[in-house]
Amino acid sequence: MSLQGYLSIVLHAHLPFIRHPEYPDFLEEDWLFEAMTETYIPLLRMMQRLNDDHIRFRLTMSLTPPLCEMLADPLLQERYVSHIDRLSELAELQRREKMGTPFQDAATAQADELLETKRLFEQVWNRQLLPVFRKFQDQGDLEIITCGATHGFLPLMATDEARRAQISIAVANYKKHFGRAPRGIWLPECAFVPGIDALLAENGISFFILESHGLTQSNPPARYGTFRPVVTPSGVAAFARDLESSRQVWSAEIGYPGHPDYREFYRDCGFDLPYAEVRPYLHSDGVRRNTGLKFFRITGKLPLDRKEPYVPNWAADRAAEHAGNFLFNRQAQCRYLKSVLGTTPHITSPYDAELYGHWWYEGPRFLEMLMRKAACDQDEIQMITPSEYLQVETVHQEVMPCLSSWGANGFFEVWLNDGNDWIYPHLHCAEERMVELATRFPDAQGDLRRALNQAARELLLAQASDWAFIITTNTSVEYAEKRTRDHISRFNGIYAQITENRIEPNWISELEWKDNIFAEIDYHAYSPIHRHPHAGAVYISKDND
């Protein structure tokens, strides 16, 4: 059968900047290490296997600037080696302990996996993951897009200067890591308000990913809904999320990751093993935590103590079956859409990258099988990246999408509610002060320039949407509050030193050492934008003048 539709799988890989050189051992750095072990490296291994088999796949990934900075950081690389060493050691102990038990296969598979991860990371990739991603991008199989510099929630910023800085600094960082400008962006939390598109266009971005109702409630209505991208009046394309394919993976009720054969995320060795046995693999505080080694399968809706042993072969078969089902459903979906729309539809399926591998252990296997089946078993669906699609289809409807995000209820309440709204007055004050500093010191040099650049870093780090999100979800609230308070406090301290002309170079050096994100930063990113004279309103773009 002929081509019935296009499919873009987009994975959003992001973690906040969680680097703590001031401590020898820091719990939250595990977020990165777990994601590396369970998601980023498995995805790279998947791409390598496809590449080795000469299968041309198409995948789009956003690698956010904080994540890129952490993956390229020597200290975190060193700590990851220690982490994977310890984890491999525990896995080996478990391999031996579980021998002859129903958990033998699970323990063996996971120990082998970790050994291979360790070997690749240290011996093959020389601890550098970004060049491996870049290689697949240069081959044309992977499209890497950027995100806000620190995943700041753009619609809730007070000034356009701060929004623009989030984008321009991200673009500069992307160029540093990938050697060219990004074509697309994953807006932090897919949060959009009209006006952001103009800032994207200003920074050379061609497309962004949008939540479904950003298009379905747009003005004027998008003729093809989410099944074709649109362009905004600024000329930037918006690819909106397809709900049907999302639900098949995301849904807790009907989604693939909930199948009984898949590995149970919540049953972890860190809580199962006798304390003395697991203690050497915990952090120095000695509190039991997930280790990443899990030997049970989901089994069903049962209490954790009634889960059954994980069988890797069953799970692998199930992932292949689900990949086939996903592709079958996309074929059916596209056939139907093409018949009713009269155009070849484009399906955008965006997901958190960490869903694949970290939360859904078999996720990378699912993706690999999907890529293989799409490339070898059919010709109805063409896997494509958004950039490629914009080359294939050049005529698009011009639409201004509306207020939207991919958070709960579709708007901004996850990041703005009674629990976290105390953040915003401080952030807005810092934004205005940063713009003020950039205006006052257009040509700073020496320590003043360092101080200004560090002020920009502290503001950016405080703006990460992760902190407000964590406070709302009530997970690591203390840490999120600490990070917000610390960065704002550091910013205020620098501001005071600059304005009172008493810069302490040693303190600035200490902050540069602690919060070393974006070595290339230039505080001029906060230079003022023309403001509209009416009522002190901040003008969004010249298009609205």
Binding site: K307, E308, Y424, P425
Partner: protein, 366 residues
Amino acid sequence: MDRSELISMTVKALRERADALGIKRLSSLKKAELVDAIIEAEKKVASSASKSKGSQASGVRGKDKAAQVEAVVEVVEENDVKNGKSPDPKSDKTTKSKQASKSAAKNIKKVSVDGKVKDDVDERESADEADEADEKVAADALEADKAAEEDEADKDKDVEAIVEKEPDSVFIDRGAVLPEYVPGTCLYALVRDPGTVFVYWNAEFESVHGWLLTAYDTAGNVLQSFSSPAHRNGRGYFRVPSIRVARVTLAKVEDGGASRVCLESRIRLAQQSGLAPELPGPGERWVDVQNHEVVYEAPAPGRAPEQPEVVQTMQAPFVGGGYDRSMDYAVVDEHGTVSTSSRFGSLSSSPSSDSLVGSSHRIVRH
């Protein structure tokens, strides 16, 4: 294999068997401990192999005797490290990981009653020497059995103590203390969702009689109004259709109940939401993004071509440092009907006017 068979085996043979069963820290186990550990490990294997859900679960989650032995052995081994003894070269753990757990070992030791762990070490050292003789003298095996039982009872106590000592919370650093209020005078309004606008303000001057916070639509009509106590700052949520909110003002309530606008929001709201406005939107338009040309353009449905663009209608009237107070007395709903209004506008027409999310103690509906 029963206990008597195991006792008859040499220590070397026992260690080989224990190793095959995945038992750790073999070199530091006495013969009797080895025997116990093997018996328990064999039971565990048999139990797991039975494929009973319950037994599988309890086998992993429960602290069986083999695990208890291992737990105590590990405590002792940590103690060895602390006392400067070389770690067992056959141990699977690296020195690094042991060092990492040193501090925890200290904690664990503290809970051992009356130096019991130290006693165990001493006993183990002397018992190790006696083990060779045990192989030849059967009577010694019985003695070792007895000693093992005593040890096991002690170990149970130790394991319980260890488990009790397992920390469940840690020191939490909540970060730097921020000033309660930001400096300067400001009023900000952020669209949170189609039905809510978040507003906060900070004023460097007092308002003896309190504040009046008002949201206006694009035509200057009052949508929602709140009075607030005389604090210099506050924050809260307007429950209004945010597409209609063009601006928010903060007015100082003066003697006699009159109010004077001091601040106007820094963000133009209606433009930001981008939701379908009350007026018809523009017509359908298709562009070629590569050649930068319009390939199709349809007129807006139900709108005369000369009608101004939606964005332009969103400019709220604003005159100098104040505004026309008469707006407060005329409220026009979405159908253009002028309704009866209170002094500060009609408050009950908003979708969720009965609730106020957020810091309601700081903003009181007027």
